[in-house]
Homo-oligomer: 197 residues x 2
């Protein structure tokens, strides 16, 4: 039976960035097919009554330390919050859908998270997005035109609505079948669920 791991992410989520660095290896170890599913975290918060952790000052201080602990643990470059954070990610999330459809999802997601959280490029900037599209082999003009089409806009909204309907309230959100796991820190449970299938 085919195992699938669905990974719901938004490029503005630093914890989804952390998870993005682990999911490919996890899927390989467990023999699962990984589905990249961009969604809109802001809309998820709004729909569920949840709120971003950064709104509580003490949480923000702890979160910054915590993100640094995770990047050290994973062997990623040291974490610092991008000056543009929380940057606009709507267009980047839509562009991920275009990249996924073209079979370039894995590469696009990795490069875009790295651009946002390591290089501190502004993912709300269309020039940055055009460059990222080109780097994964997409025609940047075509790709940036596509993200303005109703089909792509609706697809991102549909992912968001679906995630909320299935119980998600934050990012990253993982599904193994209908088992939901929220948070980079729950990846060991995700892995156990995939092994138990």
């Amino acid at each position: 039976m085919a195992k699938t791991l669905e990974f719901f992410f938004d490029f503005t989520s630093p914890y989804a960035y952390l998870a993005s660095s682990q999911v490919e290896a996890l899927a390989e170890r467990t023999g699962a097919t990984l589905r990249y599913r961009p969604f809109l975290l802001g809309a998820v918060f709004k729909a569920t009554g949840n709120s971003p952790p950064l709104l509580v000052p003490a949480k923000k201080v702890h979160m910054l330390k915590d993100l640094g602990r995770w990047t050290e643990h994973y062997g990623l470059p040291p974490f610092s919050l991008p000056p543009t954070f929380p940057f606009r990610s709507l267009e980047a999330n839509r562009l991920a859908l275009v990249a996924i459809e073209a079979g370039k999802g894995r590469n696009f997601v990795a490069r875009t998270y790295r651009a946002g959280f390591v290089d501190h490029a502004d993912l709300g900037d269309r020039a940055v997005l055009g460059r990222l599209a080109a780097e994964v082999g997409l025609n940047p003009e075509e790709a940036l035109t596509k993200i303005e089409t109703p089909a792509v806009k609706e697809a991102l909204k549909a992912n968001t609505d679906e995630a909320v309907a299935r119980g998600a309230f934050g990012a990253p959100a993982f599904f193994v079948g209908e088992e939901l796991f929220i948070g980079n820190d729950r990846l060991p449970f995700v892995e156990r669920a995939l092994r138990d299938l």
Copy 2:
């Protein structure tokens, strides 16, 4: 140099219950002295602007699954939410201070969490508290009188104020020196910090 792990907890926190099942072994593995420090989670939420996760319905559903995954992972009895949850824990937290002062902290904390989250005893009930006090070798009448004294009331408030001043916003909260870690799920980072000392 003496290593100390401070464990701030409130008996109403299920994640602190999970952590309480692990901290003794962790302290032993790392050669750290464990300090049990009850505090008032409600006052921490109020002081920091944080809010209980259960207020967001989707979070509550996920949290109940998550707690079950953790109890399975730790080999604890299967988790179910006590019918009295969120039960009153003020007196139980104060009683912990009395037990700690009498050198019965470890035993009292373990038994009280078990009573609350496994046996579903109502920790807001003084008869339950008297029984728990007796079980760890305290005189129940004396202990229940002590928790009404200004000294004990102030000590619990002082723990709470201190935790907030040092950056805590939830439970469980761990300090290794002034390094703060929030959450049962951060125990591996707590352990790394203690090993690195």
